[in-house]
Amino acid sequence: MNKILAKQRLSKEVFRMEIEAPEIAEARHPGQFIILQMGGDFGERIPLTIANADPVKGSITLIFQAVGETTHRLALLEPGDTIQNLLGPLGKPTDIKKYGKVVCVGGGIGVAPLFPIVEGMKKAGNEVTVIMGARTKELLIMEEDMRAIADEVIVVTDDGSYGRKALVTVPLKEICEEDKPDCVVIIGPPVMMKFAALTTKPYGIHTIVSLNTIMIDGTGMCGGCRVTIGGETKFVCVDGPEFDGHLVDWDNMLLRLGTYKSEEAEAHHRCHIGLKINEGEA
């Protein structure tokens, strides 16, 4: 049981929660994730990347979008409430070291797990540029946090409601052309990661992506999260979540993410009954 210490709404559907978890806070490194289950016999287990941690206070920060039943239930909890089951830290940490010039690309909610990596890359002595994108202005999160630590922040929106009207691949390509970075880290929706990784490929830039696949136990026991990396089968939960973006078989991963599409479409309507989060803005 882990107590919620603070809660903040970052956008219409996105929440930040600080949760008491002293052991995870002490052990975790940037890039790692947790799995949570809201209790009871029938609750699913979902992976969420750790956005931040405070080992002194003994807390971790999660940033999540209320999209499924579990994240909706989570969004309804308030400080003082507890989360029944929280396991972590899982996966391998990001390979943070001095590369030289690093570009960190975040899309949508992916900006949250990118934050500790940006922080780590800065600490390791890199010059860090952040490209952050969202569909529209109100879905953009953590801009101020990023501006406080990165050397440069480029904001793009799909609809041009804020920052530059472009996909993240546009400024990424420009940077690759003008001043080739030594390392690119990409976290976001799978399709965005696929195209961002394709963007850096012709330049031969070391490109790290963080994959978020279907997962159950998170300990290597089930293999549901497996992906094809350079022709080899790897488990996202224990071999990842970060991989060389140029070696990922994106099409296979996208197909596997759709494994339960029809089953979930049926469940979707059912799961949202009585679970409406209050209308509201950040």
């Binding site: 052991e23 995870i24 052990a27 289950q37 016999d41 029938f42 609750g43 699913e44 287990r45 499924g68 039943e69 579990t70 029944q84 089951n85 929280l86 396991l87 972590g88 830290p89 899982l90 159950i216 136990d217 300990t219 290597g220 026991m221 089930c222 293999g223 549901g224 497996r226 992906v227 094809t228 089968t233 224990v238 078989d249 099409d251 296979n252 197909l255 596997r256 759709g258 494994t259 339960y260 029809s262 089953e263 979930e264 469940a267 059912r270 799961c271």
Partner: protein, 496 residues
């Protein structure tokens, strides 16, 4: 022909009355008909998840226990991995003293209600039974496992179980990693000596393979919960959501958290895949994933569980062990029209328990022996639509002593399937090895331990169960847990 529990009980009752008070010679005992295990009718049970084998009635257990001739050699004891005094517990069962019967079992085995259900008795105790020998048929051996199950269930349901006495606080602290059969038995034996015992489980529910792997229809989860409650009542603390190696390393447990010794019973949780083309298509699952979804996550409760299950019509299960049977029978219960177990060898070499194979066949599971998968094919959406199989013949025996399947060139053929479940075993999960300096493993990744003490190459760290044995049985895991606990108790006593 399915015979109901009521009919079996009536037959047993009539026979018992007939035998009443007649002194029985061994020959007479051996002539008592073997008591069939009452079960749910196949056509009923494929539509539910409830236990298939219903357990003997009291009349049946008395009769079956009377079939034991109490022979002098007691070959059954030698056939039991933990040397239960089988003739003695059977004699008490025959008398109707089930509480005493279960006490005798518990001197050697902590989990009779579980082992009575999942032990492969036909290759252990019952294989050597003298009654079976008299009939020249191992299937006619005394049904030791069924009697064990009855007395254990009876004791549990009638509150006859005794909570073991716990010695005064020893001042020592032990960590038990994992909560499956090896860990449960180690934890109990360590706690009895008065040590503080903390059990760490990665998943949100304790029980290990008994909970995520073995289906409800073979081992009801309330029985596992009961055993875990017994542990808690003894004072063992169970911490779920704690992955040793990640949440905290073994070195930290020992150096920072004050644990004097550690038992690792983390199991063999790393599923093997076939290494063939198409294995990552949508609709290919490890048996671990398929069973975990259904058992741990309760995905079979469609509409209640938030964890989805793949909807299948034609399912291929690769493998021939108990896990393959569990996966096939689960798929059938979840609505698959046709489920085929594909095995490289023949039925004789199949490692699954006879009872599971029989039950699977009764439930309409089909078997394709002497076939091996070469390739999995998929439609344009990446969803499985077929499997290419090749026919095999049996060649020379291999290292396991079983005849090796040899593929017959030119016999390849594509079969229609929409789902493939891979149940060809597990390797050891490398997590603890990777995060603990000083633990040595063999080439399969299994921990190397001292056979007598189960101590690993790291002082104060012991291990047992599948992490040492590879994929083995519940009873062997339990036996190792107990052996390790005994050595750990000596080790802890010797600490300054």
């Amino acid at each position: 022909m399915h015979v109901t529990k009521e009919v079996l009980d009536a037959q047993a009752k009539a026979l018992l009355e007939q035998l009443n008070d007649t002194p029985l010679r061994p020959k007479d005992r051996a002539k008592i008909p073997l008591q069939e295990m009452p079960s749910q009718a196949p056509e009923v049970r494929v539509c539910n998840m409830e236990e298939v084998a219903l357990g003997y009635t009291e009349n049946q257990v008395r009769l079956e226990a009377m079939r034991c001739i109490q022979c002098k050699n007691q070959p059954c004891i030698a056939g039991c991995p933990v040397s239960i005094d089988i003739p003695a517990f059977i004699a008490e069962a025959a008398k109707g003293d089930y509480g005493k019967s279960v006490e005798i079992i518990k001197e050697s085995s902590l989990l009779p209600s579980i082992c009575g259900r999942v032990c492969p008795q036909e290759v252990q105790c019952q294989k050597f039974c003298t009654v079976g020998k008299m009939h020249k048929d191992v299937e006619q051996s005394v049904s030791i496992g069924r009697i064990e199950r009855f007395v254990a269930d009876y004791a549990r349901e009638h509150g006859l179980e005794k909570i073991p006495s716990i010695k005064p606080d020893s001042g020592r602290k032990v960590a038990v990693v994992g909560s499956g059969p090896a860990s449960i038995s180690a934890a109990a034996d360590l706690r009895r000596e008065g040590h503080t015992v903390m059990m760490f489980e990665a998943l949100h529910k304790a029980g290990g393979v008994l909970v995520y792997g073995i289906p409800e229809f073979r081992l009801p989860k309330k029985i596992v919960e009961h055993e875990l409650q017994n542990l808690k009542d003894m004072g063992v603390e169970i911490r779920p959501n704690y992955l040793v190696g990640k949440t905290r390393k073994i070195a930290d447990l020992m150096e920072k958290d004050g644990f004097d010794a550690v038992f690792v019973g983390s199991g063999a949780g790393l599923p093997k895949f076939l290494g063939i083309e198409g294995e990552n298509y949508v609709g290919v699952f490890s048996a671990n994933e398929y069973l975990t979804r259904s058992n741990l996550m309760k995905a079979y409760a469609v509409g209640k569980s938030q964890t989805p299950l793949y909807r299948s019509k034609n399912v291929a299960v690769f493998g021939g062990g108990n896990v393959a049977m569990d996966a096939a029978r689960t798929a059938k219960r979840l609505g698959a029209e046709e489920v085929i177990v594909v095995y490289r060898r023949t039925e004789v070499e199949m490692p699954a328990r006879r009872e599971e194979v029989t039950h699977a066949k009764e439930e309409g599971i089909k078997f394709l022996f002497l076939h091996a998968p070469l390739k999995i094919t998929a439609n344009e959406k990446g969803r499985v639509n077929g499997v290419e199989l090749i026919t095999c013949e049996l060649g020379e025996p291999d290292a396991s002593g079983r005849r090796r399947p040899v593929e017959i060139p030119g016999s390849e053929k594509i079969y229609d399937f929409d789902t493939a479940i891979i149940a060809i075993g597990n390797d050891s999960n490398p997590l603890i090895k990777a995060t603990t300096d000083g633990i040595e493993v063999n080439r399969r990744g299994n921990f190397i331990v001292n056979e007598e003490t189960c101590e690993t190459t790291l002082k104060g760290v012991y291990a047992g169960g599948d992490i040492v044995l590879g994929a083995a049985t519940v009873i062997l895991a339990m036996g190792q847990g107990r052996r390790a606990a005994k050595a750990m108790n000596t080790y802890l006593k010797g600490l300054a």
